[in-house]
């Protein structure tokens, strides 16, 4: 779109075609404010930006019509930040975006009825994706309304508990092109509804039937689906071995199968499974029957298998050995919280599956350095290692991880014996982006300095209760990891404002948790607020020295803040009221604020237009006027009343020191 102006100055942007400007705009992804700044330059930029934007995530339903008119090319509408969407809003959406809208997310919204949905599905003929999860009051009439979206390809309706077979039947008949449907927790849907989906929607690729009261009856028709790739049957207690025997003829296309928590399936069912779906790549059998030799042998025939998850199951030594003997080479193995994982078994598996990329041995408390030695020596290509609470692994073993597994990107060492030597070794993993060191009591700033110097791609760092860490450690992280997005320094009692000042250089920081850092003051918080404009989550519970002075810059600069925990701080009415100016703010925890008055609280709550969840002391329930509570609830706010006694933050630590040797 060229804009010819009468002025003599030639705007260079006028020479660019709209498509080129769009390509430039495509590059402005990193900071949501960039596009806003762009649109504020001039009218033509404003119009260009309006045309360019395809995805909208509005905050308030009140502005929906205006926003939709401005962004006329919206194809994707994410309403997950609007807790309340009434039928009028849906009417407006259906009217304005009738030709463009392809995708809508209503998973966090409530207040609409089936008539609103009907107008949406009737007029938006191009609608391909609808997420209506958590619509717990949606009934069959609503499902019938959804069925009018004839071109629908993806439908998420988890936790739509009131929908029955009849509603799902309507969807099955109406939405012939469905490729994905999630019916998780739709407890009213049974064999008949699911069976009809399988009969009518031949294009289905992905089917989530978790926790549905389905039995063997609907399985044969599901397995006749020609394109089915992903089938989730988590917690389907009605399915047993007999039904898996029916799998024999079915489903060559199936690639991923989740049968977690299916208690009625034994090795017999699983072995019949293997003979029927040879192409399976991912198998999840979490919280299932014990992984014995027979099960492991039964799964041997899955020649394409790449990933298996056995979380929470009992694993026998023989079973683990048999897994090691499979001829396939696994890429992913999850043994999280599996009872019975021993050094012997794990070592055997590790030596056989040398291509392992992801290994989860969370809470395998019996393994020691033997396992780690074998894992690190054979699986050198590991990208993800999760070994929270492997308490028998000595500190020397962690050196091996750093030495041998250079490609690690994700490392969870929460609650382990790792020390500075280990950290120094781990710092060689230059691709590391997620590092969790919570409750690692042996590490100090020295070790962390190595990480900060070498792991420049670090995005997440969890230092929860690493009591040895001081300002110097944080400083190296803040300097060496500019991409840091999330940091947890909770209960680091020695941390002061200087750490926060240094962290304020991490411009992408969006989650900051400094719970229980008594030395932090409003000054440090102000620095964070000014520097980290993308801050979304903030937890400053137990920071006694933070008061209203810290809230004012926060309210002014952190316009993206969505969640804040202010419990046990020195914030008063003024600070709370100032926070109310953050339009995004949705979630507040305000327990035990000594300086908070009833009127201040009421005013702040009223002023927070977008608030969806407030945690308050139960005492306020009686004090706050009921009409006010009703009004806030009608706006979409959920109150959580807490009645916990005031706790001393040190009590937990004392407890910890007792249990950890």
């Amino acid at each position: 779109m060229k804009k010819q102006r009468c002025s003599e100055k030639i705007n260079l942007f006028d020479l660019l075609s709209e498509e080129i400007v769009f390509i430039i705009l495509d590059c402005l992804n990193t900071n949501p404010f960039d596009k806003k700044s762009f649109s504020l330059v001039c009218k033509s930029f404003y119009i260009t930006e309006s045309k360019h934007r395809k995805k909208l995530k509005p905050l308030r339903q009140e502005h929906l019509p205006a926003v939709l008119i401005r962004y006329s090319n919206t194809t994707h509408l994410d309403l997950s930040l609007c807790p309340r969407i009434n039928d009028h809003s849906l009417f407006a959406i259906s009217k304005i975006t009738s030709f463009t809208l392809q995708s809508i997310d209503l998973s966090r919204s409530w207040g609409f009825s089936s008539s609103g949905l009907l107008s949406l599905t009737l007029s938006c003929k191009n609608l391909k994706e609808i997420d209506i999860s958590n619509a717990v009051s949606l009934k069959d009439a609503g499902a019938a309304a959804l069925a009018e979206a004839k071109n629908l390809e993806k439908l998420w309706m988890g936790r739509c508990k009131m929908v029955t077979d009849m509603g799902v039947g309507c969807i099955a008949v109406g939405c012939k092109n469905l490729k994905l449907i999630s019916l998780k927790w739709c407890l009213g849907v049974g064999d008949l509804g699911v069976g009809l989906i399988a009969v009518k929607c031949k294009e289905i690729r992905s089917l989530d039937l978790s926790y549905l009261p389905i039995t063997n009856k609907c399985l044969p028709s599901i397995l006749k689906l020609q394109h089915l790739e992903d089938l989730i049957l988590e917690g389907c207690f009605g399915i047993d071995d007999c039904s898996l025997a029916a799998l024999k003829h079915g489903c060559k296309s199936l690639k991923a199968l989740d049968m977690s928590s299916c208690q009625n399936i034994s090795h017999l069912g699983l072995s019949s499974l293997t003979s029927s779906i040879g192409g399976l790549q991912q198998l999840t059998l979490a919280h299932g029957s014990p992984v014995t030799l027979s099960i492991a042998n039964g799964l041997k025939k899955l020649s394409m298998l790449q990933s298996i998850k056995l979380d929470g199951s009992v694993v026998t030594r023989a079973g683990l050995k048999a897994i090691g003997d499979w001829c396939v080479s696994l890429k992913e193995l999850s043994l999280s919280k599996c009872d019975g994982v021993t050094d012997e078994g794990l070592s055997y598996v590790a030596t056989k599956h040398r291509d392992l990329r992801k290994l989860d041995i969370t809470c395998c408390r019996k393994i020691s350095d033997v396992s780690i030695t074998h894992v690190t020596s054979s699986c050198t290509g590991l990208t993800s290692l999760r070994m929270e609470s492997c308490t028998l692994v000595p500190r020397e073993a962690f050196v091996l991880i750093g030495q041998r597994c250079r490609f690690l990107e994700e490392l969870d060492l929460t609650d382990n014996e790792i020390d500075d030597e280990g950290l120094k070794s781990i710092s060689r993993c230059s691709k590391l982006s997620v590092l969790k060191l919570g409750i690692c009591l042996n590490i100090t700033g020295e070790g962390l300095a190595h990480v900060g110097m070498c792991c420049s791609k670090l995005k997440e760092l969890d230092l929860y209760r690493c009591v040895g860490i001081t300002d110097s450690g944080i400083l190296t992280i803040a300097c060496g990891c500019p991409d840091l997005e999330m940091i947890n320094i909770a209960y680091l009692k020695d941390i002061t404002d200087s750490s926060l000042l240094s962290l304020s250089k991490c411009l992408r920081l969006n989650t900051f948790e400094s719970r229980g850092c008594p030395l932090i003051t409003s000054l440090g918080l102000a620095a964070i607020a000014v520097g980290c404009k993308q801050l979304i989550k903030l937890d400053i519970k137990w920071c006694h020295n933070i008061n209203d002075v810290g809230m004012l810059p926060l309210a002014h600069f952190s316009q993206n803040l969505r969640q804040i925990n202010l419990s046990y701080t020195s914030v008063t009415d003024v600070g709370l009221l100032s926070l109310a100016s953050i339009s995004c703010l949705q979630n507040m925890t305000i327990l035990h604020l000594k300086g908070l008055s009833l009127n201040g609280l009421a005013a702040a709550l009223l002023a927070c237009g977008g608030i969806t969840k407030v945690k308050l002391q139960a005492a306020f329930k009686q004090l706050l006027p009921q009409p006010l509570i009703d009004h806030l609830q009608a706006r979409g706010c959920v109150f959580q009343w807490r009645n916990k006694a005031e706790l001393d933050p040190k009590s937990w630590k004392l407890l910890l020191e007792d249990t950890v040797p």
Binding site: M166, G169, V173, L192
Partner: protein
């Protein structure tokens, strides 16, 4: 069959005991019959809404055995009346065994004539007395009516028995002469032999006969009474659908085609007690009933199933034709498909060519011509909450989903308000229209077949409604 017989027998044995119970049930249905046991049998005769042929005759039969005490006041000797039919029936019984005897027939007819004369005299007497004692208590009137009823009953029974005795003998002589067979088969509607000066009693007689043949309501409701007493037996009957023999392919000519006339088809009972006149649908039930008439009927021989007459020579297979011209089940139809049994004929005729006069009391929409169909429907009526977009209702959800899986474009219909039950779908209404379109023709047929006594029956019907 053994089971059925047993059930029937039991039912019959109980029926006299259950009399009070039955009357209670009826009275609860119809408040004007609270005085059922006060011996107002005449009224019962004329009231089709009692719907129970068995019961209607049953008290009359009792009355024969235990005449009311105050009957002596009447001029006519009741014992004579009781005896005569008894002897007569014995004659008939023997006649049945032999070939048809014209002499015996003549005897029967003259006996009937005599009985009608007696009855005429009795009625004359009553008429005379009535003029004198106007304003007498109703009790006497009731007794008189009772007496006349008893007489009429025995006359009718004998008449039917006489006509019926012809049937088995004729079977042998006729090979494929179905039309004559049909004529003989009209024993339900055989015109009463006209006697001089008998107009009074004839009219009454005809009105009764017409009630039997003309009104499909009471006929089928007789079946209803049976259903009420023993459901299990009726369930068996229902299985014998008239289309059940579709798979069978008999070469034409390999079987004997019999065609019953519609009056015969619609007659409630085909087996009548020669003593008391009670009608039965099954011979086995009649045999059980006969036990009540004396020890001679209790012998194993009497209770046993009658031997098939020609067990030695191969029986020609019998198939049945529907009397309705143009019907596929009619033997003149190009693609004639015979019906297998008499029950098939009955059900087919009622379902296909009769008015669907039984309306479901629950939904007021579904109509049936066979009472058993109504009973079956009523069992499930109101449970049809599974509705398809095409209007079809299903009592079971899996049936609805099977239907939807089968047809393109059909979708589950969700009631606007889940609490309010949706009324019947369009398909039901359609059925109703079909039914009403048939009413005219059937009524016309009936009217033409029984020209006499229409006035009386109309009055009855009006009185009922």
């Amino acid at each position: 069959m053994d089971l059925k017989e047993g059930l029937r027998a039991e039912t019959w044995a109980k029926s006299s005991l259950a009399e009070n119970e039955m009357s209670k049930r009826i009275s609860s249905n119809n408040p004007c019959f609270t005085d059922f046991n006060s011996q107002q049998y005449q009224q019962k005769w004329e009231d089709p809404s009692i719907l129970d042929y068995d019961i209607r005759i049953n008290p009359a039969f009792q009355e024969f055995n235990q005449p009311p005490q105050n009957q002596s006041s009447l001029p006519c000797d009741p014992t004579n009346q009781i005896k005569n039919p008894f002897q007569m029936n014995e004659n008939l019984q023997t006649n049945k065994m032999q070939d048809w005897d014209p002499k015996a027939m003549l005897n029967n007819l003259s006996f009937l004539e005599q009985k009608i004369h007696e009855l005429q005299d009795l009625v004359h007497l009553i008429v005379g007395r009535r003029s004198q004692i106007l304003g007498r208590p109703d009790e006497l009137v009731a007794q008189q009516q009772q007496l006349i009823t008893a007489d009429l009953t025995s006359i009718i029974v004998q008449l039917i028995s006489t006509a019926g005795s012809l049937l088995p003998s004729m079977k042998h002589t006729l090979s494929a002469a179905t039309p004559s067979m049909g004529q003989l088969g009209q024993f339900g509607g055989v015109p009463f032999p006209p006697g001089a000066g008998l107009s009074d009693s004839i009219q009454v007689q005809n009105s009764c006969a017409k009630k039997v043949s003309n009104q499909s309501n009471p006929i089928d409701l007789v079946g209803n009474s049976g259903t009420q007493q023993n459901h299990a037996v009726e369930e068996h009957d229902l299985k014998d659908e008239d289309d059940a023999d579709d798979g069978e392919q008999l070469p034409p000519g390999s079987y004997e085609i019999l065609q019953l006339e519609k009056e015969e088809i619609l007659a409630p009972h085909t087996h009548f007690c020669t003593i008391c006149g009670k009608g039965f649908k099954r011979d086995a039930n009649l045999r059980m009933h006969m036990r009540g008439h004396g020890d001679e009927y209790k012998t194993p021989a009497a209770l046993a199933k009658p031997h098939k007459e020609s067990s030695s020579e191969p029986m020609l297979i019998k198939r049945y034709s529907c009397p309705y011209a143009g019907c596929k089940r009619n033997k003149d139809h190009k693609k004639f498909q015979p019906l297998k049994t008499i029950l098939c004929v009955k059900n087919h005729y009622k379902r296909t060519h009769c008015d669907k006069s039984y309306v479901c009391s629950r939904c007021n929409t579904k109509k049936f011509s066979v009472i058993a169909d109504l009973k079956t429907h009523e069992k499930h009526c109101g449970k049809d909450k599974w509705l398809c977009s095409c209007g079809t209702t299903f009592s079971r959800k899996d049936k609805l989903f099977g239907h939807i899986a089968l047809f393109q474009g059909h979708t589950p219909a969700i009631p606007l308000d889940e609490t309010i039950k949706g009324l019947a779908g369009p398909s039901d209404r359609r059925e109703g229209n079909e039914a009403t379109s048939k009413i005219g023709s059937t009524n016309f047929n009936f009217g033409s077949s029984v020209p006499n006594g229409t006035g009386v029956s109309d009055m009855d019907a009006k009185g009922e409604s």
